[in-house]
């Protein structure tokens, strides 16, 4: 018998294993965790953007019913170090101290000043009101340019400057040289408004101490249990091996849970102090102040081109809002974008410079795409402006500049080597699905008619760098961690399989996809595979989940571990079947001897033999397990073409998305249904930046959009049906050929939508609309252009 021909799992639209507990309400969200003696923490936060804290008196809180303890920042300072920044992008970067709780100065609205521990959450919240705090107001620092003025008030007075760092990159010819020979030079300023990530599960942390051994278990709604464990050890001084971090079911992240938060350190410190389990769960409004924000940049872009539309050079200057403190990777976010501004285009000169600026606002850090959406927005917006300037169709302009499919691998001017891609194919497919020519015809017709509802068409041809990995590249960028990922596979005595992954999902369907990968390599049923993750005790090594790295790095590790398992099983099979290894065929989970198929063993039978150790070849250890740590040589580079048609009512300013088509190339696809879901979710977030969302501060530094009722997360009624399709050029940086998909939709959709809005209004003299393109902004842009 040879193995039965079984349908390969990879490539199959498997409904997810994860769904069973999620749709029946049997989830373990961190806030669901209950236990005897559990105390609830509530955090008192600064109502001011910037102030000296002259007095904190928590004693009145201690008299409130149910309160067990209350702490000021000074009470907790001992034994608590600064929160980490793992990405000091330059040698001379300004790294301010970042206490988990403020001691003498608050630097953004929401900075913690006191904590109460009480027997239930209502009692804890009530007691906050009893705490007395005196603030001596200091001037807020809000505007990025004003913050750099020599006499500006300082966020960190001891540092003498609000400039955090300046990071430059210049390659190819000098921009000055290409500008001199250019026919057209365009200069544009784009604003990347601050966004609030809004993972639907608020952050939460539960810490249980085991006093007898000095061990602590930290449950956290985190994307990064492994990194969190190391960092919490550094912040609290509790030895790493005494800390166990568990990320149970985690309800979304989008980068906002790629973080080591003050509350996690505070919960640990208080559990240590009180010797009792504690829980902290943020309220949504609290989270708006205390969970990091995304984006927050001013981009000055200059582009030089010939009259035929050949790009000569690009110059980018950024001011990036760090907020009040540097969180885990805050300074690095704009630097990730530095490599992506040249996108899929060829050019002779590229200059980039970013200055990070401290402000008295909530810190910024990774938010879906992290640096790459900002870069893609700027280049794709300016390409449209250039096309308009030259009288070219925006797709045609892109075509004249992009890297052709026969030019891969291609090293871009920014120094990245794109391994594979086919921009022509994706674009052709997208144009066809979209009905580009017909929509252009309708647009012309409406313009001629002077229709108050204009049609606009936006294109965005993007690429991104995914699979955040190559440790050596990360070293060159001064990122303090590696980019590898670990996986191990254990064949159990019954032939079932445990896959242990270092990635830590929060909705991406790793259990399903990793099962598909392992099932194929091992030839076992999908159902026989169990995926273990998110607990540093059961999955001790990992670099966790962010930056669309899980599949390209973590999935690859699973693939390699499974391959090694088969190799070991082959040794045992050869022994049992009295054949040489080379004479064995392996298919559908069955080893059989070439030419005599009746001599066979399944890999699951071999697992049992290897477990009993009754008849193994000499030198072969019992059990069949394998572990792999993968550190790829290169990133992966998904790409695609997104097309959006909008109808803009010039009288009301309202924008309606009429049609959205995207063709993404994410390399080989493990589960098409999950890929599609990831694209949809990404599109929603990217469209939200284009049309709806913005964290707004007033002149005092209060967060005006401070609740979910004020911050416009789009609902089902606000979003259209998307048409999604794919092309597939396998990645060459991993054996699976996968590229990553989590951020693609977000990166591509924002410029597609804004390009469409501007395209609709260009005949009226509008050249830009600042994001989010709310009805009011659109209406004003139309008024100003016509007035």
């Amino acid at each position: 018998m040879t193995g039965q021909a079984v349908e390969p799992e990879v490539g199959r639209a498997r409904a997810r294993k994860e769904d069973a507990w999620l749709i029946t309400g049997q989830t373990t969200w961190t806030d669901n965790i209950q236990m005897a003696g559990l105390l609830h923490l509530a955090v008192l936060r600064s109502p001011m953007a910037h102030a000296r804290v002259t007095r904190v008196d928590v004693t009145p809180a201690l008299r409130c019913p149910g309160v067990v303890a209350a702490f000021s920042g000074a009470d907790l300072a001992e034994g608590l170090g600064s929160l980490p920044c793992a990405w000091p992008v330059t040698e001379d970067i300004v790294l301010p101290d970042h206490p988990p709780i403020a001691v003498d100065e608050v630097r953004h609205a929401g900075d913690p000043v006191a904590v109460v521990a009480a027997r239930d959450r209502y009692a804890a919240a009530d007691a906050l009101e009893a705490i007395e705090v005196d603030y001596d107001p200091l001037p807020p620092v809000l505007d990025l340019e004003a913050a750099l003025a020599p006499d500006a008030p300082l966020v960190h007075a001891d540092k003498g400057t609000n400039r955090c760092y300046t990071w430059p990159l210049a390659t190819g010819e000098s921009f000055e040289a290409v500008r001199a020979r250019a026919d057209v030079v365009l200069r544009r300023r784009y604003h990347q408004q601050r966004l609030i990530p809004n993972a639907m599960e608020p952050r939460a942390v539960v810490v249980t101490p085991l006093a007898a051994s000095g061990e602590y278990t930290v449950y956290s709604a985190t994307q990064i249990p492994h990194i969190l464990r190391i960092m919490l050890s550094v912040v609290t001084g509790i030895p790493e091996q005494k800390l166990r971090v568990i990320a149970p079911d985690v309800g979304g992240g989008f980068g906002s849970k790629l973080q080591v938060y003050g509350e996690e350190a505070l919960a640990l410190a208080i559990a240590r102090r009180l010797g009792r389990p504690v829980k902290w769960t943020e309220s949504r409004s609290e989270g708006y102040l205390a969970t990091h924000h995304g984006r927050g940049m001013i981009q000055d872009v200059e582009v030089a081109a010939t009259s035929e539309g050949r790009l000569l050079g690009l110059k980018v200057g950024l001011l990036a809002d760090m907020g009040a403190y540097l969180m885990l990777v805050t300074p690095g976010i704009p630097i990730l974008g530095a490599f992506m501004y040249p996108a899929i285009y060829k050019m002779d000169a590229y200059e980039f410079s970013c200055t990070g600026v401290f402000t008295t606002k909530t810190p910024t850090d990774a938010y879906r795409g992290a640096g790459r959406p900002e870069a893609t927005y700027a280049i794709e917006r300016v390409m449209d402006e250039l096309a308009a300037e030259l009288g070219l169709d925006p797709v045609e302009l892109r075509r004249r500049n992009w890297i052709r499919h026969d030019e891969f691998p291609y090293t871009t001017i920014a120094g990245l080597t794109y391994d594979s891609g086919d921009y022509e194919a994706a674009t052709a497919k997208a144009l066809e699905l979209f009905g580009y020519d017909a929509l252009r015809a309708e647009q012309r017709e409406r313009n001629e008619r002077g229709d108050p509802v204009r049609l606009g068409i936006g294109v965005s041809t993007y690429t991104e760098m995914c699979g955040l990995a190559p440790s050596r590249v990360l070293r060159d960028l001064r990122y303090s961690a590696g980019g590898w990922e670990a996986a191990s596979i254990r064949m159990l005595p019954t032939g079932k399989v445990e896959v242990v992954t270092g990635t830590s999902p929060h909705g991406q369907g790793h259990e399903t996809c990793w099962s598909q990968i392992a099932a194929d390599v091992l030839g076992v049923p999908f159902e026989d595979v169990e995926v273990v993750h998110g607990d540093t005790r059961t999955a001790p090594q990992g670099m966790d989940t962010y930056g669309s790295r899980s599949l390209a790095v973590g999935g690859e590790a699973v693939h390699r571990a499974a391959t090694t398992v088969v190799a070991k099983a082959r040794k045992v099979a050869a022994h049992l079947l009295e054949a040489s290894e080379q004479d064995l065929e392996f298919s559908g989970g069955v080893f059989s001897v070439k030419g005599s198929p009746e001599a066979h063993k399944t890999i699951q039978e071999i697992a049992f033999e290897a477990f009993t150790h009754h008849d193994l070849p000499d030198g072969v250890e019992p059990g069949i397990n394998a572990e792999h740590v993968v550190d790829p040589e290169n990133f992966s580079y998904p790409h695609g073409t997104h097309l959006c048609a909008v109808e803009v009512d010039t009288e009301t300013g309202r924008t309606r998305i009429r049609r959205y088509v995207c063709v993404d190339d994410v390399g080989r696809v493990v589960n098409p249904m999950i890929v599609e879901g990831q694209v949809h979710g990404g599109l929603a977030q990217g469209i939200a930046q284009a049309l709806y969302e913005e964290a707004v501060y007033d002149d005092e530094g209060n967060l005006v959009s401070g609740t979910m009722a004020d911050y416009l997360v789009p609902s089902a009624a606000d979003l259209p049906d998307f048409v999604t399709d794919r092309t597939e050029t396998p990645a060459t940086s991993n054996a699976l050929g996968v590229k990553g998909v989590g951020e693609a939709g977000t990166i591509a959709s924002t410029p597609a939508v804004v390009n469409a809005v501007v395209d609709a209004l260009r005949p009226l003299g509008v050249h830009d609309v600042r994001m989010p393109c709310t009805p009011e902004r659109v209406w004003r842009a139309v008024k100003e252009a016509s007035g």
């Binding site: 994860e18 949504r284 929060h506 990404g682 609902s715 979003l719």
Partner: protein, 170 residues
């Protein structure tokens, strides 16, 4: 403290509660029925949606005392003997969830919609779910799931949902 009697997912409970206690917290913290998550403090997100006496409500916007004498169905009360409802199946089959945090609320709100409008259009589904935010899915597969469930669900399945309410209030 106020004494309340409430039937939740077919089980009768009697409890003393603070008048200000939200139904969401009563379910979660007092009864340990943590299948109903909380996503906001402004009754905006819909994650906490449950059925109260045949009406879908945001349990963070209802006091536990308001449920006195009533019957609550949460997502944990839907699957009977392990058999999922058509909506649960459809969410699974159409990939209508990613992280799943919004899912209990989505399912409960969609259930309410289908009770009132058994054959909605895609637009009607989108309008009906306006009060339920999802950050992961972009909604498209949720809409597909609800439409698929509407198509699949035979009329006999829905009266059963009412029965739960009736026997609970009795």
């Amino acid at each position: 403290m106020t004494r309340i009697k409430v039937n939740v997912d077919g089980t009768a409970y009697e409890d003393d509660v603070e008048p200000r206690l939200l139904l969401a917290h009563y379910l979660r913290d007092r009864l340990g029925l943590t299948g109903t998550p909380i996503g906001c403090d402004t009754s905006t997100c819909g994650a906490c949606t449950v059925d109260l006496d045949g009406q879908s409500v945001k349990s963070c916007a209802v006091l536990a005392v308001q449920a006195d004498g009533g019957a609550v169905t949460t997502v944990q009360g839907l699957a009977r003997n392990g058999a999922w409802t058509a909506l649960q199946r459809a969410f699974h089959e159409r990939h209508g969830l990613q992280c799943g945090y919004c899912t209990p609320g989505m399912i409960m709100a969609a259930r309410d919609l289908l009770r009132e409008n058994p054959h909605p259009t895609a637009d009607e589904v989108r309008q009906a779910l306006e009060g339920n935010l999802c950050r992961c899915t972009g909604y498209q597969n949720i809409v597909r799931a609800v439409l698929a469930a509407a198509e699949e669900e035979d009329t006999s399945a829905r009266p059963e949902a009412h029965q739960v309410t009736e026997e609970a209030t009795a």
